[in-house]
């Protein structure tokens, strides 16, 4: 398959211009920021609170915004034009994901600054947040491709966001309901676990399993996305 940076960048540029005029998206981004400001006024911000906000950024921006911008391309019949142009699947989805990646990482960064989060190892935590972001964007892409309109996407995104971002809130229920033990393997849970261990002095060698699990989620979500796109390329 061919990949052209120029075409991916063209789509990225178009989306930046488009998003700057899209109130629906900009207000969604304000949600985690508002909560971060609220938390920052507290005496002590715990690791769980930091990651509640970071996960909210992933959910509200990574999943929600990505699914909305893809569903909108379908709703307004603009995706078909891109598909019929020389742009290929990686270029189209890459361009859109890049916009969401920038937005998500910017929101995470601003929230972390507001709340004074200072990880013991910036490289490891930053890397883990970045690859987690890839997963949520792939998830948002999938939600967007499976739905036909922005409204439908936001409805489907809600439970998906809830499970993947806030699943960790139910960790304590695992003992009582063993069926919920999959929660431990959720990327959000892996990320918090990793971040806590970093604070106790863990280095990359101690954390490879967390990274591996998050990467496995990325691979799974990307494969599903490619399959769904190929299916929709015709007959959608």
């Amino acid at each position: 398959m061919t990949f052209s940076m120029k075409r991916m960048y063209a789509i990225f540029q178009k989306d930046v211009r488009d998003l700057s005029k899209n109130m629906y998206i900009t207000t969604t981004m304000l949600m985690p920021l508002a909560l971060a400001i609220f938390y920052s006024t507290m005496d002590e911000v715990t690791m769980d609170m930091h990651y509640l906000i970071i996960n909210l950024c992933f959910a509200a921006v990574g999943v929600f915004v990505q699914s909305a911008i893809i569903a909108e391309e379908k709703e307004k019949n603009t995706l078909r034009g891109l598909m019929l142009s020389p742009a290929t699947l990686p270029e189209i989805l890459g361009g859109k994901s890049l916009v969401t990646l920038v937005l998500t990482m910017a929101t995470v960064l601003i929230c972390a600054l507001l709340m004074g989060y200072e990880p013991a190892n910036y490289m490891i935590v930053g890397g883990a947040i970045l690859i987690s972001c890839f997963f949520y964007i792939a998830l948002g892409t999938l939600v967007g491709l499976l739905t036909k309109s922005v409204v439908e996407a936001s409805v489907l995104a809600l439970p998906v966001m809830f499970i993947f971002s806030f699943g960790s809130l139910f960790l304590t229920l695992i003992e009582e309901y063993p069926i919920l033990s999959f929660i431990e393997y959720l990327p959000s849970v892996q990320l918090v676990e990793l971040a806590i261990e970093v604070e106790t002095g863990a280095v990359f060698a101690d954390l490879w399993s967390n990274f591996a699990i998050i990467l496995a989620w990325i691979v799974l979500a990307s494969l599903l996305t490619a399959v769904v796109y190929k299916k929709k390329e015709m007959d959608a």
């Binding site: 075409r7 540029q13 178009k14 211009r17 078909r80 034009g81 020389p86 290929t88 390329e233 015709m234």
Partner: protein
Amino acid sequence: MENIIEVTSLAKIFGNQTALEDVHFSVKKGETFGFLGPSGSGKTTTIKILTGQLSHTSGKASVFGKPAATLNKPQDRKRFGVITDNSGLYQRLSIEDNLKLYCNLYDVPSIRISEVLEMVSLSKERKKNVAKLSKGMIQRVTLARALLHEPELLFLDEPTSALDPANSKHIHEGLRELNRKGTTIFLTTHDMGEAESLCDRVAFLNKGRIQLLDEPKTLRRQFAENTVLLELQDGSNITLPGGQEGAKEVYERMASGQVVSIHSNEPTLGDIFVEVTGRELV
């Protein structure tokens, strides 16, 4: 001459509904070929199959000598342009920004934007947001977008259905010019005037089948009644047969100054359509 599109025994079935059945036709290089049919006859379905947006049930559909479904490489995509009812524009962006995206995707310098906007008479609206445009203007922007990369082959699904006569005429001139420069055009329409004024050949599509296929003038001649219509000074009309007898009467009436006008009874494509299919072209 080389065939750009070749379709044999093409069929498309949606669930239990047959949209196309045993369709055969080919489009030669440089030709303007029209699919004429009422709504629901399978025009859009044909374009979607030919542009790889829809799979077909059986038969063969090839474009540029390759199966239509395999034309998905960037270099193939640059060879054709499409407008269908699902060609959307970005509402929040200006006409210019919409076209700029496509210039970048097709690797076309952005000076082309002025040229195509000129062609659809939207140069002054260049900076306007698409959300503020009328339906007809949107149709013209979509056409402009399909022309940006000067494709060898253009698929147009009812290109002027939302346009007033003046704008349609302007677009028709543009399309003829494009065709003169070598672009092959496959268009669908339910407007017989459009088919008549643009197409080298037309196919009548009815309920998913091609019922007639030929050059418009051949069809008109084939279906013409051999009669002439005379409009007389007293306001009445009379129809006279061709040949000796009719010619004599025409002469006499003309000589005695009764005749206001003479018309040959050539049917329009619309008349022929009704005669062949028993249906109106709506």
